[in-house]
Amino acid sequence: MSTTSSTILNLPDQKTATIPKMNYITKEDGLWSWLTTGDHKRIAMLYLISITFFFFIGGIFAGLIRLELLTPQADLVASDTYNKLFSMHGIVMVFLFLVPSVPATIGNFLIPIMIGAKDLAFPKINLLSWYLYVFGAIFILAAMIWGGVDTGWTFTTPLSTHYLNTNVVPAALGVFIAGFSSIFTGLNFIVTIHRMRAPGMTWFKMPLFVWSNYAASILMVLGTPVLAITLTLVALERTIHIGVFDPTLGGDPLLFQHLFWFYSHPAVYIMILPGMGVISEVMSTFSRKRVFGYTAVAFSSVAIAVFGFFVWAHHMFIMGVSNYSALVFSLLTMLVAVPSAIKVFNWAFTMQKGSITFETPMLYSFAFIGLFTIGGLTGVFLGSLGMDIHLTETYFIVAHFHYVMVGGMLMAFMAGIHFWWPKLVGRMYPESLSKLAAVTSFIGFNLTFMPQFILGYLGMPRRYHSYPAEYQVLNVLSTAGATVLGVGFVLPLIYFAWSLKYGEIAGNNPWQATGLEWQIQSPPLTENFTETPIVTQEAYDYEWLANKTQHEVTTVG
């Protein structure tokens, strides 16, 4: 390992570290032991495998979309096929990848360890939530195999209820079931964080990763049921015509928009908040400094969660909501942008007077901060009423949310996976190759989505199968970027698989980080801790770590 030393004296040599014989992976063997496990770490790994699978499925759809858009004419696939491609890209990426990504994998693995607990509060419910995820995913896969669904990921009525013959009900049912998986995960996190913190682990000693997952969990528990209700109503409207949304039966088509976005706007924060938690951990560790303004960062997560519930109608500014309610929602949208700005500056200032090293997770974090800043500021364009009229429903909005979701969330996920990979499997990933992947995906990402901002201001509508010829140059650039981006995502898949067997052995604490998870063996024991830790140190206390390491070495040595 190239890192470590200097701030920490007498470091135990990482070269001599071995993979401990007893750990959560070797505890029991066989597929059955994995499928019936109650261990949060094993469930996290199950999730990691499932979401990676669906990420690449969704990625293939994205690739086909970009390939079609290489030319202005509709020439690669039929219109219906194109519509199915972007619908399934959205459904798979949002519900089967982004929503569970950080919380269900990294969060599931680390939250109990970070607060010094043996497991989540309800291990069986945790396993159930993975099964629900798989069950929901099977429905969505089935909907695809039976011929796909072309509602768009938003299931907009009355299109989805009256005008399409595709597999709307199976897909909606899949999303409905997967929604419960996220409710249970949220519930489990909330109870665990409230009830199972180790002695001395007060709220303000918790790592910020735990804070941000706590905020996201509140959103999951309160928001997801509304999605379930909405999708149920869509299914009922489609099958027995109950007439809640159909204007000819006295229903209100705008009601669907209100209900859908009441979940789906907070869902954006469900996706991004855990990612922000990852960034706090990584920035602190590689700057070797406490996160600048810990309390402000912690509270800004909660503020985002609370405000996040009151901005949903900003998706509907042009839909004929009253001008005055649009005014209120625009104002609230501006307010929710502030905590995000606070976080960005706090992360940047965490580096001030630090002692910075540039391992892969840090590079991904830089990518996150840069891309999220662009994503956030372009969100202000859309929150501004008059500007939104021109920009909404165009490629500008497509670029904006990809900057937040891919540039933000996915980069944070990659940062997190690289950061905790040594803890997850006990081995290191290859450092230079992963740096190459980080740089490749950053360049590819910008090349893909930057031209889309320009296309959006030109007026190119989203979800268009063909487009006027004068937009071609920018679309070609975007497709070229997507190819580079694709390489940036396939590389990690390969070297992570390679590292499972050939990676350098990591040892307990390869980054010399302060979290409780780094004070135990890698991979951890099934029980996480041999004895319950008693927490006296603050979060990100590098002096405490240095003292502890010194002390350990002297006693051992």
């Binding site: 006295g250 070797r288 625009s330 500056f345 580096m351 840069g370 662009i374 202000v380 937009y471 140059v473």
Partner: protein, 347 residues
């Protein structure tokens, strides 16, 4: 390196024909662009600031140069700065955006009205003078045009990017938007709300003409019957005049001069009679009973197309007296009363 001249020609043509910024073809476009450039400036400054911090700290405090980190808890002053400055900027953007929004969505009272009906996958434009267009819209420069829009099936969205205006076209509800075109030419119409299979084919062209050309166009392309005239015909053929005859003993209320008035309903509500109210009252009469009348009018849901409803609304708008209503009624009654031929018994 040699580039073949054919390829070179192609590249030059391809690049010169490609667009980077939309044309400014309406009075609102410069206002929207001004806000856009302000927002762009904020973004560029913000991104530059953040990347300067990241790169600056990276260079200054990299481990080789700064081996031991110094402890800093935070700084209330700094944190207040980066809370208040973004907040202030965002509030400016909010106010500016709100002003623009109200400008785009509140049409001036002298605007010329054109109806737009959206359906899978075409746009129909209906001019009051009786010009009907499909996937096209002809408008003059220098005159505010209001579009009153409705969808016959799913959500659509009427977007005119070169005018910087757009509005959702909703089933069962009128929505409006307005613009004043400044430069003659042709401009894109896009449907921007995903509406099914041929969403990308639901496009058209606005042709902006000088007032003189527009006048010529209206004369050459009229169907010969204004919307109100079509409405009058529909009014008679559907038998609306049988009850809404304006007679004292009529079963339905008189419609002369009703548009724009305040109406007292049976359920105690007072409503302003506008396009939306008239449309709802035809489709769903039992919910819109004028005080003093019995609920005997049947629903016309599914029996009149959106275009027909527009015609009826336009007709009722122009209806100032019941003279012609009664005349039509008398004519049709006397036609019925008179035997067609001697000896034929009326069925």
């Amino acid at each position: 390196m040699h580039i073949s001249p054919v390829l070179w020609q192609f590249l030059v043509k391809w690049l010169t024909n490609s667009a980077l910024f939309p044309r400014e073809a309406s009075t609102i476009a410069p206002w929207a662009d001004a806000l856009y450039f302000f927002l762009l400036l904020i973004t560029i400054v913000g991104v530059t600031l953040v990347s300067t911090l990241i790169f600056g700290f990276s260079i200054r405090y990299r481990k080789e140069k700064h081996p031991v980190a110094e402890h800093i808890e935070g700084s209330t002053l700094l944190e207040a700065t980066w809370t208040i400055i973004p907040l202030a900027l965002f509030l400016i953007v909010f106010v500016w955006g709100a002003l623009l929004y109200f400008r785009i969505y509140n049409p001036p009272t002298n605007a010329m009205n054109v109806y737009i009906v959206g359906k899978q996958w075409m746009w129909k434009a209906e001019h009051p003078g009786g010009q009907h267009e499909i996937n096209a819209l002809h408008v003059p420069t220098g005159r505010p045009i209001q579009l009153t829009m409705i969808s016959q099936d799913v959500f659509h969205s009427f977007s005119l990017p070169d005018f910087r205006v757009k509005r959702e076209v909703i089933p069962g509800r009128y929505s409006t938007v307005w613009f004043e075109a400044t430069t003659p030419g042709t401009y894109h119409i896009f449907c921007t709300q995903y509406c099914g299979t041929n969403h990308a084919a639901m496009i058209g062209e606005v042709t902006v003409l000088t007032p003189e050309d527009y006048k010529k166009w209206t004369q050459t392309s009229t169907s010969g019957m204004s919307l109100a005239q079509s409405g009058e015909r529909l009014f008679a053929s559907m038998g609306c005049n049988a009850c809404h005859s304006g007679n004292a003993a009529a079963r339905g209320p008189s419609l002369a001069g009703v548009y724009g008035s305040k109406l007292q309903l049976t359920n105690g509500q007072q409503v302003l009679v506008n396009d939306a109210y008239l449309r709802d009252a035809i489709l769903n009469p039992s919910q819109h009973l004028t005080a003093g009348y019995a609920p005997i009018m049947p629903t016309y849901q599914g029996q009149i197309s959106e275009e027909g409803l527009i015609d009826l609304v336009e007709y009722i708008k122009t209806l100032q007296t019941n003279y012609r209503v009664q005349q039509t009624l008398t004519t049709s009654e006397s036609n019925q009363a008179a035997p067609v031929a001697p000896g034929v018994v009326k069925p």
